[in-house]
């Protein structure tokens, strides 16, 4: 039977493995036919914004680049939405980080704890908070 998993993600990319873990968990849940809701909270909201890639030489060694790149979750987050996940953010946390007006990664949505997150609680079977 299909169930619903809600992940409250409090970490951004790179700072730890929370984002990678959450995305992979979500992917597995969706693959099994479950529903997934992700609430990006705290530093997690950093994941919701489109990347502005730099052009030209990165001046980063290949070894370091290969360490960094897998931690970037922007495209994988968008891919989750394409697979049916519902992802929204805490806009006040975006505001606190000066990124509120920046373009969202495809499919992620403006949200708030009072309405968006609580609505998630109405329909979820499990809530997992992932943060540091």
């Amino acid at each position: 039977m299909s169930k619903c998993l809600t992940i409250m993600l409090l970490s951004g990319a790179a700072e730890n493995e929370d984002a990678m873990f959450s995305v992979q968990l979500a992917e597995a849940a969706l693959e099994k036919g479950h529903r997934v809701q992700i609430y990006l909270f705290g530093n997690g909201v950093n994941l919701s914004k489109k990347e502005f890639p730099i052009e030209g030489d990165l001046h980063i060694t290949p070894m370091l680049l290969s360490h960094i790149e897998p931690t970037k979750m922007f495209e994988r987050l968008a891919a989750l939405v394409e697979k049916g996940a519902d992802i929204c953010t805490c806009h006040t946390n975006e505001h606190a980080r000066g990124i509120e007006s920046r373009e969202y990664v495809n499919g992620t949505e403006w949200g708030d704890i009072g309405q968006s997150f609580c609505t998630y609680l109405l329909t979820t079977d499990v809530l997992v908070s992932v943060g540091h």
């Binding site: 409090l10 609680l121 109405l122």
Partner: protein
């Protein structure tokens, strides 16, 4: 559907997570979810009534009949007397927390 939730705040006032825990409790309480907000470890430092967001939100939450608790042993570890914390916060022994949380469908520690 999750009908009951506990938010456990363990971070001090200077860490954003403590405010996020309080905000989450406020939100779920307002939404009608049976909510318990518990302060432990350094999080008990949020309960001293210092002017600002934490105190304002906690005061409003308790005025709206929100349930706020703190762990006695955490107060002692942080060397905070019970007489210093906000009126309305219920001090409980660590041993009593599991019973308090028995009916909470999920617990989230910040």
């Amino acid at each position: 559907m999750i009908n009951s939730i506990c938010w456990l705040v363990t971070r001090p006032i200077g860490v954003e997570l403590s405010a996020l825990g309080i905000r989450s409790a406020w939100a779920t309480h307002q939404f009608g979810v049976d909510t318990k907000l518990v302060f432990a470890d350094e999080g008990v430092g949020c309960l001293l009534g210092a002017p600002g967001y934490h105190t304002n939100m906690l005061t409003e939450l308790m005025e709206q009949e929100g349930e706020v608790f703190c762990i006695r042993e955490s107060l002692e570890k942080c060397r905070i007397g019970q007489d210093r914390i906000l009126s309305g916060v219920q001090v409980i022994d660590a041993d009593d927390l599991p019973d308090l949380l028995e009916d909470c469908e999920t617990v989230n520690s910040f």
